[in-house]
Symmetry: C2
């Protein structure tokens, strides 16, 4: 089996000589690295979605040969895993310090989570089947910490964390997938009407045309938080 590289790419140069290498590349690309690959992958995903990213196109964008990526990365799956986890990471918002109410904290954390994913809609469709990276784990830890400090008993903590996670993920995935197909939803609502009387309720409430996603998300979240507060 080939050498490949075991684990740590982190630092690649030990000589601090900052002189730009004067090779035949005239002021060209910075050297390939896992970070640069992932960052470029995120850019491409944002711009063209999952279908637009192939190893060859990604390498082109990096000014490298397709196979060169495989030195820094195991395979395409890993690129996507890393891209997803990077996007899901929690970037500390403002200084902590001031201890707000726990409900506000949880709501803020979760709404930020949702907003972050919606800013990169491909992340929602990538979520299933992808492993837990440090970004996700960091967020879960934050959530658990807030709940725990708010007085949720350890015995109930896991259920609380998962319930909130489930709700946020479901809402986000739903929103992201329907966002791209607004026309489809209108068409579906139309079809409901022509389909006769088989869906009276959906037709009456115009479920598929109600696009107050943010408000709906808030309402459901409030219901969940109410319930958690009640049995705390």
């Amino acid at each position: 089996m080939a050498a490949k590289r075991g684990d740590g790419p982190k630092k690649q140069s030990k000589q601090t000589n900052a002189a730009p290498q004067p090779a035949q590349e005239q002021a060209g690309e910075p050297p390939l690295s896992r970070e640069r690959i992932v960052a470029t992958a995120v850019e491409m995903l944002d711009a063209e979605g999952t279908a637009g990213v192939s190893m060859r196109r990604l390498a082109d964008r990096l000014g490298a040969g397709a196979m060169s990526l495989y030195w820094h990365v195991d395979n395409k799956e890993q690129v996507l895993d890393l891209a997803l986890d990077q996007v899901l990471e929690y970037r500390a918002p403002q200084q902590a310090g001031e201890p707000r109410d726990w409900r506000g904290d949880v709501a803020h954390l979760l709404e930020d989570w949702r907003a972050g994913m919606l800013r990169h809609p491909w992340s929602a469709s990538l979520l299933p089947r992808r492993a837990l990276g440090p970004g996700i784990l960091g967020r879960l830890e934050l959530l658990g910490g807030i709940l725990s400090r708010a007085g949720v008993a350890d015995a109930d903590l896991n259920a609380a964390i998962w319930s909130l996670w489930n709700y946020v993920m479901g809402a986000t995935i739903t929103r992201a997938s329907f966002d791209l197909t607004d026309a489809d939803m209108a068409a579906a609502q139309q079809r409901l009407s022509t389909l006769g009387e088989r869906h009276p309720t959906l037709e009456r409430t115009r479920l598929l045309l109600d696009n107050d996603w943010d408000g709906t998300f808030r309402k459901g979240l409030d219901v969940l938080l109410d319930g958690l507060a009640a049995r705390k």
Copy 2:
């Protein structure tokens, strides 16, 4: 542009002559049809997951040429759409009639939904970005009907439906994606420990080793239903 076929495959023969066609196929395959294609696709998805299904392999399994499928189906996406919607359809459980409490009805409907998807784990990863077929719409209608009859005001109905949907979908997708990677979760929990003190809460509650998925699902659902009942 080619003729293709506009819409309705439904019935292909009008002569009721039931004599098996005595062509060169000796008692071989039944004729190709959209239904048969979708049914076989579901079988293959169950057996080998999303990655195992290609148009060529699907056609092989049907005893047909790859391109023959395209007469009955627009493209591969549509095959997956149809497979998903078929799996998500609600098959009426027992006779209605006896009007149980609405909470029990909702819980039953949603748990059946979740169970059905988990029986076909690929459905969870297919959900994002797929359109609303009649199967899904049927279930949403049922859910809306129960809630409406239970007294939820029309103004709150959409939010209630979506909240429950979100929760169920999030829980199912999470469950399905982590199910296949139990080893990964153990590894992740392990990593938490070695990662030092950065995830004290998750480590303490052993979040990633708690695999009482069904119980957790029930608890969160109860919280939601409590909340809905309260503001009814």
